[in-house]
Amino acid sequence: MADEASRPFAGLSEVSIPEDVPVEGDISVPVGPSRRDDEFSTLDEPVKETVLRDLRAVGTKFVHVLYPKRSSALLRDWDLWGPLLLCVTLALLLQGGAADSDDQGGPQFAEVFVIVWFGSIIITLNSKLLGGTISFFQSLCVLGYCIMPLTVAMVVCRIVLIGGSGTVSFAVRLVVVTASFGWSTFASTAFLADSQPPNRKALVVYPVFLFYFVIGWMILTFSPSQ
């Protein structure tokens, strides 16, 4: 066992270090620019920097949704802040509709939340059960971020509804919601399609289509209280 241990260091047995020569040097590890996954270095930075960094990450992902191309940025560094922000915005904007307290009205705040989050979870489970290679939270991240065009459409719809709720306004809203629904579906498919086995792509895309269709329906049928 001794010769096994010394075999890699075979040549060193001949080297002798004189005892009076001091061994000195610098063993400090050069500290590079602080990286996100290096926890120790981010503890000392000011809070503003931490918040801004996360905001920038969220903003980058929004830009990626606006111009969907096959980039892996959304998938690699997933986060759920953006989906949460979009979901809360959408649910808040869907309030104030015709007689909320009446059960004949639009979706309640909790119903929007349930539809968005449970819908995303079910679609993710579905794609994983069909053999997809995307991870759970990556898929939630993509589906949540791709709600952004629909949230923008909701803002536009509310602005249009301020002007009136006649046929013209309905036509405008229909066009806007349809366009953003198509955009959302296309964007999320661009990110998710690669992770599916080729003979099951349609099986995975259809639930995504249904999900954004339902959200688009909720946006389109929002009618202001009189």
Binding site: G97, A98, A99, S101, D102, D103, Q104, G105, G106, P107, Q108, E111, N126, K128, L129, L130, G131, N199, R200, K201, A202, L203, Y206, P207, L210, F213, V214, W217, M218, T221, F222, S223, Q226
Partner: protein, 301 residues
């Protein structure tokens, strides 16, 4: 003396078969596989490997899946992945089969072929829930368009009600039917009944015809709606009847007819109930409760 199959070999063979369900197999059991009598039920020890179209009994250890041995226990992810082992083409094929029932074509035997899936039933139910709720809302809007008092309301609570009703139908009725059929087979093990998953599968796919029907119900003509519902019920009901008749016909005449009649009646109730609740004509729409008190009370004082 025929060789006895060890469980390991059976697992390998079952995996090969699940990859290609249509492959021809060689039965190594003692009993004659072509006979439909109860004679084959006695050999509990001989493992029957013939998983092709066969009326006889199934592997005891995998009752739920009817011959397709699940990998892992029910707490593993792979167990549930085996329920989603379908391709796009297969799902479309099954949907087509549910819309065009031909006499003599048993849906389970012809289309499922020992590979029942949960994808079809689940997403068909979800689509049906939203299509019924949305179409109902649209039809209410169209029928009230000329009414100046009417103010459009999204009626989102209908989604919840539709979801509860349809999912309960698609899951509780197959559970009841499967339990009942299994009980009727009892200890005799004559004709192999369908597994639980196959029953859920055939019920789920049979609901598909109601999706285009509910969309067409938006058209506000009563005679058209009743015609559509009749056509849908005939198609959907015949898929179910054609599937379950071969299983019950060996029972006593009374029970067989009663079982099939119950299937049809429940299916009818679902269709008519959906139509009556979600697609009400103008005369039946409940007026929304006014949120402000009527002003005439102020004049009384």
């Amino acid at each position: 003396m025929e060789p006895k199959w060890r469980p390991q070999e059976f697992e390998e063979a079952a995996e090969l078969l699940s990859a290609d369900p249509g492959a021809s197999t060689l039965s190594m059991s003692a009993s004659d596989t072509t006979s439909t009598a109860a004679g084959g039920g006695g050999g509990g020890e001989d493992v029957k490997l013939d998983l092709s179209e066969d009326e006889e009994g199934q592997e005891e250890s995998s009752e739920l899946l009817g011959g397709q041995k699940p990998t892992g226990g029910f707490w593993t992810f792979e167990y549930y992945q085996s329920f989603f082992n379908v391709d796009t083409v297969q799902v479309l094929d099954r949907v087509k089969g549910s819309v065009m029932p031909l006499p003599g074509r048993n849906f389970i035997k012809h289309y499922l072929r020992s590979n029942p899936d949960l994808y079809g039933p689940f997403w068909i139910c979800v689509t049906l829930v939203f299509s019924v709720a949305i179409s109902g809302n649209l039809s209410t809007f169209l029928s009230e368009m000329g009414n100046p008092v009417y103010h459009y309301r999204p009626q989102f609570h209908r989604v919840t009600i539709a979801a509860v009703v349809i999912f309960m139908y698609a899951w509780l009725v197959p559970i009841g039917l499967w339990g009942f059929l299994t009980w009727r087979q009892g200890a005799e093990r004559q004709i192999g009944g369908y597994s639980f998953l196959e029953t859920v599968c055939v019920y789920g796919y049979s609901l598909f015809i109601y999706i285009p029907t509910s969309v067409l119900w938006i058209i506000p003509f009563e005679w058209l709606r009743w015609t559509l519902i009749l056509v849908a019920m005939v198609i959907s009901g015949s898929v179910l009847v054609l599937t379950f008749w071969p299983v019950v016909r060996d029972d006593t005449k009374v029970m067989a007819v009663a079982t099939v009649a119950t299937i049809v009646v429940l299916h009818t109730l679902l269709a008519v109930g959906c139509k009556m609740y979600f697609f009400q004509t103008a005369a039946h729409i409940p007026t929304p409760v006014p949120t402000t008190p009527p002003t005439y009370t102020a004049l009384v004082t």
